[in-house]
Structures are given as C-alpha cells and as structure tokens.
C-alpha cells in the first residue's frame, strides 16, 4: 500500500482511459475490427462536430431538456405536495402510505407499457413517465424530512406559541429542507434517466435518446457513441447544478453554527 504524494495533480487516473482510447484508435486505424461496424474515435468526433454545426445536436438537446424539465416540474410539485401531506397528516399517511409504499416496489420502467396504453406514444406519455420517475424520490424524501423534525424544536415552537402556519414556515420546512433537497436532487437524476428511457420506448421525436436509438437502427456507431457522451455530460452537469443549488440554498445552516 503505497501512499501517493497528494501535492501534484494526480494524473494516474488518466492512464487507463488514455490506454483504452489508444487501443480503440489503433484497432480501428489498423482495421483489426470491421470499421464499417465499429466507428473510430475520429469518426465519433466528426459525427459530433457535424451534428453541432448542423444544429441537430442542439435541437435534440433542447427537445430532451424541455421534456426533462417539464416532467421534473410536474413530478416534483406533485411529489412535494404528496410527501408534505403524508408528512404533516397522520391520517393521510395511514390511508395512503401503504398504497404508496407498495406501488413504489414496481420498477419504474415497468410502468411504460401501461402508460403507453393510457397516454399514447406521444409527448404527454413521455412527460408523464418522467414526472412519475421524479415523483417517488421527491415524495419519499419530503415525507421523511418532515417526519424527522426534532421534538425539542416543536416543543420550543409550542412554548413560543407559534401558529400552525408559522410553525410550518419557520420550523418544519427549514428542518425538512435538507431532505427535500436530497429528494429534488435525486429527482433530477431520475428525470434524466427517464428522459432517455422515454425516448427509447415511446414514439420517435427529436431528442438525444432518439439520436442513439436511431444510430443503432442505422448501424452508425459514431452517432451512438457521441450520444452516449452527450448523455453522460448532461447528467454530470445536471448533477453538479443540483449540488450547487443545494449548497447555496442550505448555506444558512452552516452560517448558524
């Protein structure tokens, strides 16, 4: 177990990816593999560049993100309302909780055939599916966040004679905020996954997932790989963005300590 010196930027993480890239490049350049089937790194760059210049990439990206965000907005609002209701009301929890927890067991993608029967294969079905994907983590985390409000704080609120509204705004919501943000963050990750899934399963319309499925059908691996890279990059950006917003929104908590 050698302890690496942590002063210089650690470049060792790049070694294996670079080697794999070189191998890929060599394999296609030397025609060890059938280049009609396996795209070369240059072909992937070329395809990505073409798509960026022609605007196809941006149109697809805009369509996917639009879908993603409308689904996220719908699902997170519904999830917040539902999780909040369950968290604040024991009655609601007793009535609806078990059903909610039971339905949660069904794998997300297993809803697709049923959703397609109800909403068709168009845009509404896609947005509904994304919203469903977001709904679960947001509802669950809001519920648990509200439930975890500390008893002492509620007692203080009682001593101070806060009204229910004040209690909700001043105490319950702030103390549930970290869990709620965790739920929203998870929701954002799920939304992107669901966007991809929606574009695979429902009817063809512009979008980055569709680019990949299209590429596969027409045996254009360059298109599939750049799609994959874009999907990874967007996921990373969304993730970072959510973490940043989360840190910003919860900054007051550290200030108080």
């Amino acid at each position: 177990m050698s302890e690496a010196t942590r002063k210089r930027p650690d470049l060792r993480g790049w070694v294996v990816p670079a080697a794999l890239l070189a191998l890929w490049w060599l394999a296609t350049a030397q025609e060890w593999v059938d280049t009609r089937l396996v795209a070369s790194p240059a072909a992937v760059l070329e395809a990505a560049w073409q798509a960026a210049v022609s605007g196809e990439l941006w149109r697809g990206l805009a369509a996917s993100l639009g879908r993603n965000l409308s689904g996220f907005a719908l699902g997170s609002l519904a999830g917040l309302a539902f999780g909040g209701l369950l968290g604040l009301s024991r009655l609601a929890e007793r009535l609806v909780g078990p059903t909610f927890h039971a339905l949660k067991q069904i794998a997300l993608f297993a809803w697709i055939p049923l959703l397609s029967a109800w909403f068709g294969f168009g845009e509404p079905a896609k947005v509904a599916f994304i919203a469903l994907a977001v709904f679960y983590p947001v509802a669950l985390n809001s519920f648990e966040g509200i439930r975890s409000t500390r008893r002492e704080l509620l007692e203080v609120a009682r001593v101070l004679g806060l009204t229910p509204t004040q209690r909700l705004l001043r105490l319950v919501l702030p103390s549930a905020a970290p869990a709620i943000f965790t739920g929203l963050h998870l929701g954002l990750i799920y939304a992107w996954l669901a966007t991809l899934g929606a574009e695979y399963f429902f009817s063809a319309a512009p979008g980055i997932g569709n680019t990949m499925i299209d590429g596969r059908e027409h045996f254009e691996m360059d298109q599939v790989i750049y799609g994959l890279l874009v999907v990874g990059a967007v996921g990373l950006v969304l993730n970072r963005l959510a973490a940043w917003i989360e840190a910003r929104a919860l900054a007051w908590r550290d200030g108080g300590r």
């Binding site: 177990m1 050698s2 690496a4 650690d10 060792r12 993480g13 790049w14 294996v16 990816p17 794999l20 968290g87 604040l88 009301s89 024991r90 009655l91 609601a92 007793r94 009535l95 609806v96 909780g97 078990p98 059903t99 039971a102 339905l103 067991q105 069904i106 794998a107 997300l108 993608f109 297993a110 697709i112 055939p113 049923l114 029967a117 109800w118 509200i146 439930r147 409000t149 008893r151 509620l154 007692e155 319950v172 996954l193 991809l196 899934g197 695979y200 399963f201 990949m212 499925i213 590429g215 596969r216 045996f219 691996m221 599939v224 799609g227 994959l228 999907v231 990874g232 996921g235 990373l236």
Partner: protein, 277 residues
C-alpha cells in the same frame, strides 16, 4: 383537539405515549386504514368497469387481472417466463458481482489501484445503464449476452462502491492490531478486512440485486422475446392490459422479495458482527 390533531405535525412524533387501550385501537386502525384505500380503489375500479364508465380495454377490472393471473399460473407460463428472467439476473449478477467485488477489493486495498482506476470507474458509472444499451446492442447483438452485460453493469457499480468504502471505513486500530500481530495479506483479509467490511459489502449486494432486477426489466422491455418484461410488451401489443398489470405486480413482488429477503440476511449478519467484536 381530537380530529384536528390528525393534521398536526406534533402528532407525528412519539412525544406522548397514548394510553394503552387507545394505542392498541390505533394500531389496529392503522393496519385497517392502510387497507381501506386499496380496497376502496379496487371496488371503485371494478364497479367503474362493470358499469362501463371506463372501457375494460383501458382498465381491465381487478377480477380479470386475477383471472389472468390464475390462468398464467395454472398454465405454467408465468413461472416459465419468470424463471427465464431470474436465470438472467442470476448469471448477470454473478458476473457483475464477482467483478465488482474484485474491483472494490483491489481499490480498497491499494491506493495505487485506486488512483489508476477510480476516475474511470466514476466516469463509467456516471452514465446510466440505459445509456449503454444502444452501444452494447451494436457490439454484442440482442441475445443473452446483452442481458447479462446490462445486468452485470447495473450490479457492478453499487457492489464496487460498497466494497471499496467498506474497506476504507475500517477503523485504523483494527489494521494496527493486525500489523502488531504481523498478519500476512491473506490472514489480514480473512481475519480483519473481510469481517469488518462485510456489512457494507452486503448492503452493496442488496442494492446491487435490486438494481440488477430493474435493469433486467428494462432490457427485456427493449429487446427480448421471452421473460417477464417480454410478457408486458406482448400484453401491451395485443392490448391485453390485464397481462401487463399481472406482469407489473409480479415484477414488484419479486423486487420486494429480493429486497426484504436480503435485508433479513443483512440483519442476521449485523447481529453476528456485534457478537464477533
């Protein structure tokens, strides 16, 4: 005070214990209340279809779903499809699990391996399984290999992470004791590292199998001609939503059994661990 309290967050906390008889009543009520909504929904659903408020094609009545379930069960078809799916999960999980365990061990034991492999691992795990499917389809076709690979990838990621962090979170004092006793690598692994990391690894196994099951459903929906996911696709194409709903229920049930069964073993393991140290 009594009815309004239901919507009061104060009530949600175990602040004041209820008088015993009231608590018993409440607990009985809690179970009943949980069933109330599903039962009510089922009844409304059944009545709505029977009275033709909604078409049975869009929403097959519960009785039909139950009937279909009975038929599928009796004909052995359900079990046949399920066994194919389970076999896929088993093979895929074995591949992904073995690789994940090895990778997690290697990265956990050696900082050097970590430095070389962790960034690549993180980059690969960043892209969801779903993103890899089109590329994998082109590389290996849509046969069993595809299913095994997709499940293996889904299983590999959580298992690697949990094995890795399980080893890294071993209290340094344990390792120091091992050093004092001059344990070799094998002995250290067997006596210190694996027992200490086991709970975390097992949590990884539980996550991993759940993920693997979900991945299986996804890949069977996309490309398969048998299995429980295919049953859904088939049902959807013939617009037999009763079939779709049966498959959904089975998928949920298997997921639940996997998760709860492993959770049970996990508690056992933790109990063992408490006794061991």
């Amino acid at each position: 005070m009594s009815t309004l309290q239901a919507s009061d967050p104060f009530r949600t906390l175990p602040a004041r214990p209820w008088p015993t008889f009231a608590r018993i009543l409440r607990r009985a009520g809690a179970g009943g209340a949980g069933l109330l909504l599903p039962v009510l929904l089922l009844v409304v659903w059944q009545v709505a279809v029977e009275r033709h408020w909604v078409s049975a094609q869009i929403l097959p009545p519960p009785s039909r779903v139950l009937e279909t379930f009975g038929e599928l069960w009796a004909s052995g078809d359900l079990w046949f499809q399920l066994s194919i799916s389970l076999q896929r999960v088993l093979v895929g999980s074995a591949i992904g699990g073995a690789l994940g365990l090895l990778l997690g061990l290697a990265m956990g034991l050696s900082r050097r391996v970590e430095a070389y492999l962790l960034p690549l691992f993180q980059a690969i795990s960043q892209v969801p399984v779903l993103g890899w499917i089109p590329l994998l389809m082109m590389l290996v076709g849509i046969d069993e290999t595809l299913k095994y690979l997709v499940i293996a990838k889904a299983v590999l990621v959580p298992l690697t992470i949990n094995t890795f962090s399980g080893i890294r979170n071993i209290p340094p004092s344990y390792l120091e004791v091992a050093r004092v006793y001059r344990f070799g690598l094998l002995l250290r692994l067997r006596r210190v590292i694996l027992p200490a990391a086991l709970p975390s690894i097992f949590t990884g196994v539980r996550f991993a199998l759940t993920k693997g099951w979900i991945a299986l459903v996804t890949v069977e929906l996309l490309a398969s001609s048998e299995g429980i996911g295919y049953l859904m696709v088939d049902g959807r194409q013939m617009f037999q939503l009763d079939l779709v709903i049966v498959a959904m229920l089975v998928i949920g049930l298997v997921g639940l059994v996997l998760d709860q069964g492993l959770a049970l073993i996990e508690t056992r393991l933790r109990r063992w661990q408490r006794q061991a140290f």
